[in-house]
């Protein structure tokens, strides 16, 4: 008989948790390096940060958190057997993901129009790399959520929404460090 393992206690798929921890570790390393480089030029980093649009990033935070909430509600509805509501919530969550990407795209476009590119200052190396890599995860989630609205088993929805919450989790750590810490 198989002995119970500590990982059995984790909700959902173990592989999804490995992915969550791996992604957190990657972004944590990125943020730690960002703050380490900042030590060499705190004034320059502060000036570069002041060129960011904090209001847009704040709106994007509300958008992503609300999208995560809709995804969590979708999983709950699917558990209760309310497939139609679950599908609608998943599509709504994906649409908010699209809105996040649109705002992020506008932010990148405004930087480009102002002549700010990745090598303008070391701050922008990290800004484009970390927020761009995060946006790529949002794009993946935007594809994944409608996919599980179509193939709507409880397990599929659990995995896709866990991925989406990971994207949310990374953003709540990324947003304050890149945009708010002065």
């Amino acid at each position: 008989m198989r002995q119970p393992h500590a990982s059995d206690e984790l909700p959902g798929e173990l592989l999804m948790w490995i992915l969550i921890v791996s992604e957190l570790a990657v972004f944590a390393a990125g943020l730690a390096v960002f703050l380490s480089v900042r030590i060499t030029d705190p004034e320059g980093f502060a000036q570069a940060q002041d060129m960011l649009d904090r209001r847009a990033a704040g709106i994007n935070t509300v958008v992503l958190i609300t999208s995560g909430f809709l995804a969590a509600m979708a999983y709950r509805m699917r558990q209760l057997g309310q497939r139609g509501k679950a599908r609608l919530l998943l599509i709504s969550a994906a649409l908010l993901g699209v809105l996040f990407l649109w705002i992020k795209g506008a932010e990148f476009a405004s930087k480009s129009a102002a002549g700010i590119v990745w090598d303008t200052h070391p701050f922008f190396n990290f800004y484009f790399l970390l927020t761009g890599f995060h946006a790529a995860h949002v794009a993946a989630g935007v594809v994944l959520l409608p996919l599980v609205a179509w193939r709507d088993t409880v397990e599929n929805i659990e995995d896709a929404t866990a991925f989406w919450h990971m994207v949310d989790l990374v953003w709540v750590l990324l947003f304050p460090v890149i945009y708010l810490l002065r």
Partner: protein
């Protein structure tokens, strides 16, 4: 996870996010950079804990929840140390 718990988690996350954004936009940062930095990182840690516990279901796995809380706490302490380092120079 009940629907009510999910609503409360969402409202708390929104309030904490608006709180940290308002703090960054306020003049408090000029006078109390250390306290403001600590507050923003504590709020980030709090938000991450809510997502893990409520949305990712770690409320049902308390031992894992404690491990994640500790790990994220260590990360926030590290980031705080790196943020404060220029002030000590």
């Amino acid at each position: 996870m009940t629907e009510r718990a999910l609503y409360i988690a969402w409202a708390t996350l929104i309030a904490l996010s608006l709180g940290s954004t308002a703090l960054a936009a306020s003049g408090l940062w000029v006078h109390w950079p250390v306290a403001s930095g600590v507050a923003v990182l504590v709020l980030a840690w709090w938000k991450a804990r809510i997502i893990l516990a409520r949305y990712l279901g770690l409320d049902a796995a308390p031992a894992w929840r404690r491990r994640f809380d500790f790990g994220l706490g260590c990360l926030c302490v590290l980031m705080l140390g790196l943020y404060l380092a220029p002030l000590a120079m």
